[in-house]
């Protein structure tokens, strides 16, 4: 079904594009999540208002429509465009998933014991020092399971870039289906690949969580080898995902 020529010239590059889009948009989403999530705990109402507005807008809009806007509408409206549709896709995914992630950051910060804040005040730390050295490090291990869910949603969300002409692995699969009409094996292969990537990401995040918990002197909970197959029940943080992509 799949000629080796097609495989090397379309499919492997497509897999590589999916990996790149996932990693870059996850990096952008991480930055957005921490910045917006932290600002949403500010004591100044205007900062909370502006960051909250960002959160509501980007959580409530569709990443796909945002991509269409970036790739097809903005060039017409402003005679300016992103360097490539792939960059536009990365930005759209990063801004959207960053908004989801900001809720994780805000929720985890709010869950840090108030006594820790008081201990920080008693030692005359500034607000920034308390945030950086006490509150964020303690909130971090709590964020990881929720971030893991978001990361996997993001991975699967990267297939949206295939609709704005980016040749990711879904795009390559569609091309191959048009060429061969072999729908079933092609889509099955794609699903398996997404699953394998998701599984690798989950194992990585579990490792990160273990490390993070060890660094605050907590023993990580023991879960089976295939724990990545089961989503960890969300405890106190809302991931805020869902809705139409």
């Amino acid at each position: 079904m799949m000629t080796s020529e097609f495989f090397t010239s379309w499919f492997l590059p497509g897999v590589w594009v999916t990996i790149q889009v996932t990693l870059f948009s996850a990096a952008l989403a991480g930055v957005v999540a921490f910045v917006i999530g932290t600002l949403r705990t500010s004591r100044f109402w205007i900062v909370r208002f502006l960051s909250g507005t960002y959160f509501e807008i980007f959580r409530g809009t569709s990443a796909l429509v945002l991509m269409f806007l970036f790739v097809f509408a903005i060039p017409l409206m402003f005679r300016w465009q992103f360097i490539s549709p792939m960059v536009a896709g990365i930005v759209a995914l990063g801004l959207t998933y960053g908004a989801y992630g900001s809720e994780v950051v805000r929720g985890s910060l709010a869950a840090v014991a108030p006594a820790q804040r008081e201990a920080g005040i008693a030692l005359s730390f500034t607000r920034m020092q308390r945030l950086r050295r006490i509150e964020l490090p303690q909130a971090w291990p709590e964020m990881i399971p929720a971030f893991n869910n978001l990361l996997i949603e993001l991975l699967k969300g990267t297939s949206l870039v295939s609709l704005v002409t980016v040749a990711d692995m879904t795009f390559a699969g569609n091309l191959l289906r048009l060429a061969t009409n072999e729908s079933a094996p092609i889509y099955t292969l794609l699903l398996v690949l997404y699953f394998v990537f998701a599984f690798i990401l989950t194992r990585g995040m579990r490792l990160l969580e273990r490390q993070a918990k060890a660094r605050i002197g907590q023993k990580p909970e023991k879960l089976g080898l295939l724990s990545g197959l089961r989503a960890k029940p969300s405890t106190d943080v809302v991931t805020g995902t869902g809705g139409v992509k």
């Binding site: 008081e118 201990a119 008693a122 005359s124 020092q129």
Partner: protein, 271 residues
């Protein structure tokens, strides 16, 4: 803690009051309709060890939390070392203090909490060195040196490389004492520091505090239910009821022959 330990508390002269370190002036604190402190006036002289006793809800812990700026007074003023704590003088007027002023005055005050409140994300050593390095600007080496001396004082040198969760409550509380002392505060606030401990761990913590009380010139303000400890270390005991000081005096007097009926009732209930 001061390194020049030759100026110990044997030089304290109770007759001189120009030595005043803390002053509460008509301080009011309400929680909703509940008036916890009712125009409270009192002062503490430098180097004194003062114990606050009284029934729960009488406002003792509120006093410590006001001094630590974890709470703000609704009315009145608090001075520490001659400076207003939550106010600033601007053009001859008292205005609510800015963040930086509060931090500067607060640096003179250290606090040990009932629940220890160590930072779980830092090992014992860093729990103690973090604030001296970040807040006071000590070098890492100076702060390490200071922390090691203090850990020796509280008898925990061998636990320097552990996380707080690996220590017992009593050990955690002794680290918390070291952490507070590492800032070299003039005043140490002790908020029911043994209440959360298992009975067999109480003595170790109290011994450390006794040691500090007897070998340094630090001012202590202590809320406790350990009356023997209070009798041991205090220069002065203040009996609180309903947000006011109803009686104050030397521990021998308060514990031995109190004037006030309310004090007698309270002591017979707890002793």
């Amino acid at each position: 803690m001061s390194s020049d330990t030759n100026t110990t508390n044997d030089a304290v002269n109770p007759a001189v009051d120009s030595n005043e370190l803390i002053r509460f002036d008509k301080v009011v604190k309400r929680f909703g309709d509940n008036v916890v402190l009712d125009h409270l006036d009192f002062s503490v002289d430098s180097g004194k060890h003062v114990t606050l006793i009284g029934p729960s809800g009488s406002g003792k812990t509120t006093i410590l939390r006001l001094l630590m700026t974890l709470l703000k007074p609704d009315e009145g003023t608090i001075k520490v070392g001659g400076q207003y704590l939550t106010h600033e003088e601007k053009n001859g007027k008292l205005v609510p203090a800015g963040e930086k002023h509060v931090r500067d005055v607060r640096k003179n005050i250290g606090m040990v909490f009932q629940q220890f409140n160590l930072f779980p994300n830092m090992k014992v050593l860093r729990n103690i060195t973090e604030a001296p390095v970040q807040v006071l600007g000590l070098s890492k080496d100076e702060a390490d040196q200071r922390a090691r001396e203090l850990l020796e004082l509280v008898g925990l040198t061998e636990h320097i490389d552990k996380y707080p969760t690996q220590l017992s409550g009593g050990q955690q509380q002794r680290v918390a004492i070291a952490r507070a002392l590492a800032m070299r505060p003039q005043v140490l606030l002790l908020d029911e520091v043994t209440s959360a401990l298992d009975p067999e761990l109480v003595a170790g913590v109290l011994d450390v505090l006794r040691d500090i009380a007897h070998t340094t010139d630090i001012t202590m303000l202590c809320v406790t239910h350990e009356m023997n400890f209070a009798r041991d270390i205090s220069d002065q005991v203040l009996m609180f009821d309903a947000g006011r000081v109803i009686e104050s005096g030397a521990p021998e007097k308060i514990f031995g022959d109190p004037d006030h009926q309310r004090t007698r009732e309270f002591l017979s209930a707890v002793l």
